[in-house]
Amino acid sequence: MNNSLAVIRRLVQSAATLFGVGIVVFILLRVVPGDPTAMMIGPGASADDVIALRARYHLDEPLLLQFFGWLRSALSGDFGTSISLHRDVMEVLLSRLPATIELAIAALLVAVAAGVSLAVLATLYDRRATAGIINVAVGLLLAVPDFVWALAFVLLFGLLLPVLPLSGRIDPTLDIPFHTHFILIESLLTGRMTVFADIAAHMVMPVLALAIPLAAIIARVLTASLSEAMEADYVLLARIKGHSRLRLVLQEALPNAIGPTLALTGVQFTFLVGGTVIVERIFAYPGIGNLGVDAVINRDFPLIQGLVLAFGAIFIVVNLLVDLAVTALDPRLSHA
């Protein structure tokens, strides 16, 4: 009962957060420089034409009227029509979101696997040179932002060792029908392994670019937590019982040390999703990040608003899931 109430409370808070995000982005778009009609107006247009074009996109209405008009539509799931794409914003978002979700989840899984592995190794060999090397390597990985990794991979796997495709989500010459936009999952579930391999190959570089910085953060934080946990009494007891160091780390220390890392991972994952903007652009990956760049360039207000809300919703969902996971791991937190 308490848990249900907590979830309901979080959902209400999430709705309020999204509402706030909507207000902020709505206002910001209209105060920052860049009028979408200025980019569309013809060179021979008169002052009346400019007025008419602004009216066409409701940009001539008072700000409050524009906002409530948009809000009313948004609450019914209508985010308007994209100025640059001439398509329904919700439809565009739903068609592009799966690509970013697949990319982000894959990057998260890689980051967690790599980060946890590095942390475990560093803890296992904490009194040897290995730990020092891992520590330095993690520091280096942490210092390089995701877009630099992306460019490095373009050079490394695109040119020097040309084993991976450079751009896109799938080989454009393949004529494959899909029922959903989650094409990686769909190809796997339908047993089309050649297609799955092609899609996965296209994901390797962008996934690595996104995953590496997060993996480094996970490794750094978890190493510290594990180090602390290894000093706990229950670990000492297990050591006295004669358990191997590997068992001590994996079965005794890790479950107790993972909590803070999990919480941090959830927060960092939202930054990872934000990182898709540049990474998707570099790899011409058709997700909402790449879509967002063009939307901003074109000052496509309806699309930008929809995208920001989509990102906001992702952040909220991820943080909710992280909180639930952390609470599940440490029931004491549910009574906090």
Binding site: A38, M40, V50, H86, L166, T173, D175, A201, D294
Partner: protein
């Protein structure tokens, strides 16, 4: 039975997965497929409305799927398109257009004069949102008589037929569009062009299939893939790796490096796009000495040679050499001493410089910011102290429309039909939302030319306007851009002065 440990199974699965993924790599494209790493994305399939309709680079894609009323050759000259002949009546109160016969839409339905009428009528309606409505609305009251369409000239525009080969001048399918609507058309567009849309993934790729019934003959390649790769580094990698057959707009350093490779060919061509510094009629630019000094102080040849590796054509008017009103006698020579003298007349010197802001984009065009940095350095030597302000292209358009640009603002200007109205005209006439310099003297010279029916007199008039602009320093033209194209040996590419390389014109060598 042999038992495998968990570790062995995991290792084997991982190895198999890696081999499968790395082995799949990039599927070998057929020889009949042309893959282009393109520098812009295609946002919308409607070539007549919205910001993409006036994006010059996207026209290569639109021309692949749709046909224009009037065609254009790579050298900018005009050729029959879906109209085979056209003209005015004797007193220029009507136009007539002969419609091509035997053309079909991509869905097999017949094309006819009603599509021409519907497309023109739609383009001329304000509610459609065509950015060039101000041209299309100059004709109306269409009548169809067999394969001939006539229309009344509501407002005489001497450039109407040139516009029929320019932005938004695409013939759309009346019956199909009315049936599926705007949203349906975006999902499954059809045209009469050399290629049909086969598959599209926004921000990723567009796959086209050859139209076997194209009136100008089936194109050389069965399949064309446009990969939308806006990042220049990635485009370089695409062509260098061989994943794409052709790319354009790569950094000149990379172009020079790659064109020497035995398997690649590099061509450059001056295109109908110029770089210029808008001058706004605010202080200190109201001082003619300052304007002229700013122009004379710029060593355009050095900028092209040293910053752009020779890839550019210095110009002194807004008319590039291929344009109709180009006058080679109009010169504004590099003369820093003259610049100092002009500034001295107004009380300025290197010790007491005139100060103003110059706005520029950064990364929009090749070395745009670096060019302005170089110019600011040249100005400093003569007595101009300019502060650089970087802005986005969206802000430039907004400021320009609101007549709020800084005293100097760098931007570029495309003119794929080469007519003076679409360069000097719209850039310098104060009534245009795209102009920065507003003054009555210039408007008085330009005004009558909009409706001048005598073509020779019209062109001579524009040349006189350009000469006057140069004498007054109302704008600082800098260079005509040169477009680098890299492609695999085995292709025959005809560079297009419009800067939009059309796949239908790319052949196998």
């Amino acid at each position: 039975m042999t038992a495998f440990s968990r570790r062995q199974v995991i290792a084997a699965t991982g190895g198999l997965a890696a081999a499968t993924i790395l082995g799949s790599g990039h599927a070998r494209a057929a020889d009949d497929t042309l893959t282009i790493a393109y520098n812009v994305n295609l946002p919308s399939f409607d070539p007549t409305v919205g910001p993409s309709a006036v994006n010059p680079t996207i026209q290569a894609i639109y021309r692949s799927v749709f046909d224009q009323f009037i065609g254009q050759k790579p050298d900018l000259s005009f050729t029959p398109g879906l109209l085979t002949a056209w003209g005015w009546n004797d007193d220029r109160t009507k136009i007539w257009m002969d419609v091509r016969k035997g053309v079909t839409w991509h869905d097999g339905s017949p094309f006819g004069p009603e599509d021409i009428v519907w497309s023109l009528d739609r383009a001329g309606k304000k509610e459609t949102g065509n950015p060039i409505e101000f041209v299309w609305s100059t004709i109306g009251n269409y009548k169809i008589d067999g394969d001939r369409v006539t229309a009344d000239v509501l407002r005489f525009d001497p450039t109407i037929f040139k516009w029929m080969a320019f932005l938004t001048a695409y013939v759309m399918p009346k019956t199909y569009y009315e049936k599926v609507g705007a949203a349906g058309f975006e999902k499954k567009p059809i045209g009469t062009g050399p290629y049909m849309v086969d598959a599209y993934e926004g921000n990723s790729f567009l796959r086209l299939k050859a139209n076997p019934h194209y009136f100008n003959g089936k194109p050389a390649f069965e399949t064309v893939v446009f990969k939308f790769v806006p990042d220049a580094t990635s485009r370089v990698a695409e062509i260098e790796r061989g994943s794409s057959d052709l790319t354009l707009e790569v950094p000149f350093e990379e172009f020079d490096r790659l064109k020497t490779r035995g398997d690649l060919v590099g061509v450059t061509t001056p295109i109908s796009d110029i770089g210029m510094i808008f001058i706004t009629n605010i202080e200190p630019m109201l001082d003619k000495n300052v304007r002229l000094a700013a122009h004379h102080a710029i060593d355009k040849k050095a900028i092209v040679e040293h910053l752009l590796r020779g890839y550019g054509v210095p110009i002194d008017t807004l008319e590039a050499p291929q344009y109709e009103a180009f006058d080679p006698s109009i010169k504004v020579p590099y003369d820093p001493e003259l610049a100092r003298q002009l500034l001295a007349q107004s009380g300025y010197s290197p010790d007491k410089p005139v100060k103003f802001t110059i706005q520029t984009t950064r990364g929009l065009k090749a070395k745009d910011y670096e060019m302005i940095q170089a110019i600011v350095g040249m100005w400093r030597k003569v007595g101009i102290q300019a502060e650089i302000e970087v802005y986005e292209v969206a802000k430039h358009f907004e400021l320009r429309m609101g007549h709020k640009l800084a005293p100097a603002a760098f931007y570029n200007w495309g003119n794929a039909i080469g007519d003076p109205t679409t360069s000097t005209g719209f850039a310098m006439f104060s009534k245009s939302p795209h102009s920065a310099w507003h003054s009555d003297d210039l408007d008085a010279m330009i005004g009558p030319l909009w409706g001048e029916a005598d073509e020779a007199k019209r062109i001579a008039g524009w040349k006189a306007v350009d000469k006057y602009i140069a004498e007054q320093g109302y704008v600082i033209p800098l260079l005509q851009y040169v477009q680098p194209i890299l492609y695999k040996k085995g292709l025959k590419v005809t560079p297009e002065i419009s800067g939009a390389p059309e796949p239908a014109l790319i052949k196998k060598a």
